[in-house]
Subunit: 215 residues, 2 copies
Amino acid sequence: MPPSGRLRADAARNRTALLKAVEELLAHHHPAQISMDLVATTAGVGKGTVFHRFGSRDGLMLALIQERAHDLGVAITDGPPPLGPGAPARARLLAFLSAIVDLVSRNKGLLAALGPAIATPTDQGPREAHPVYRTWHGHIAGLAGQERPDLDTDMLAHVLLASVHSEPILDTLARGEGERLDRTLRDLVTALLPERPAPERPDPERPDPEGPGAT
Amino acid sequence: MPPSGRLRADAARNRTALLKAVEELLAHHHPAQISMDLVATTAGVGKGTVFHRFGSRDGLMLALIQERAHDLGVAITDGPPPLGPGAPARARLLAFLSAIVDLVSRNKGLLAALGPAIATPTDQGPREAHPVYRTWHGHIAGLAGQERPDLDTDMLAHVLLASVHSEPILDTLARGEGERLDRTLRDLVTALLPERPAPERPDPERPDPEGPGAT
DNA sequence: GACGTTACTGGACCGCCGGTCCAGTTGTCG
DNA sequence: CGACAACTGGACCGGCGGTCCAGTAACGTC
């Protein structure tokens, strides 16, 4: 998903190599100990290339996240239900949460990098969240608000999303226990949102386990 | 709360000055842009002193957190209900969450520092959570487990605590909207835990709003 | 297919930061 | 009051994110 203008052949190749290198490194090392030099070396390019293309460390991390999140973004706006429009809000929300947990689990360490980069210190004042976070947050808040307009769904969305930046939870995900997080989030949402037909069996809206997301 | 042995007079004075300096700086600047040199200068001591006493940047941050969290720790083990033992688990849990939100709100930026320092990269393998986090997490999981042993309360506790490391939520707290987080967490917990008498009015167990915590 | 333009490349370089070290100093105890 | 140990603090180190610019190689033009 390169930016608007086409890239020169070698530039595109290096861009891909860099993103792949970062992903690989993130899978095995803590983000704090991944230097830009290391990324460049792993990708087989010079450090100047990294900064020329991505501007900064955060830019690199955010580009990776944006790329991995792109498919999910398309799925929730144009895809088929229950992720896409058409299904009831509650079912869409459950599907979306599962998709996010899935996305984060399959890209181990991806969100660990997002944590530091999620907000850019615009100046000295408050900060601005990254587009990907804004999209996810808005989607959750919107869906929840359809069912429970009485709640502070804005804050609720932040709380639900917070789980995928939390170090202890990311550790758990890294150990392959992503389903525990998924189930816990589902429990929270089902407890909070009214379930129209049956009061106890949330299984029907279980989303397709291999939905959109990274490849 | 100096470590076991008593401190030399000047050492104790400098320790206090350093913690106060960090707290002050955290209130006005993003943790990432607070250097150890700056802390030392602000406190009026040399950098060597900082490292001699606290070992590392994380050590300094954790010492500050531990000091602020101490009162709350005492309150939940020995204090009066609803925070301390004696009250029903659900009421204690609600009181505890309010106390944490209160603690974090009053120490703006304190937990922003915890985020990076919450887990120490023990070696290369997994990480170990800080005692303060372990205590909080265990308390929440234990209380929730008394009411809903069927849930994955271990993960639930992580999810609830995640909200106080989340950058967007910390921003909200910094703007003085701590009550929103408090209310949202209460909504989550009351939705999840059975309420024995009436099915809709969680007000009675509202804890004392000015409980224990930092001064 | 040769050529000039232009964007890309990559390694040397910079300033800063966390952390170390040790000579000098100052509190404490017999 | 003296001696010892603990504390102090600034010079110093390795490494990091980020900059710079001379060399290079891809693309449009004829």
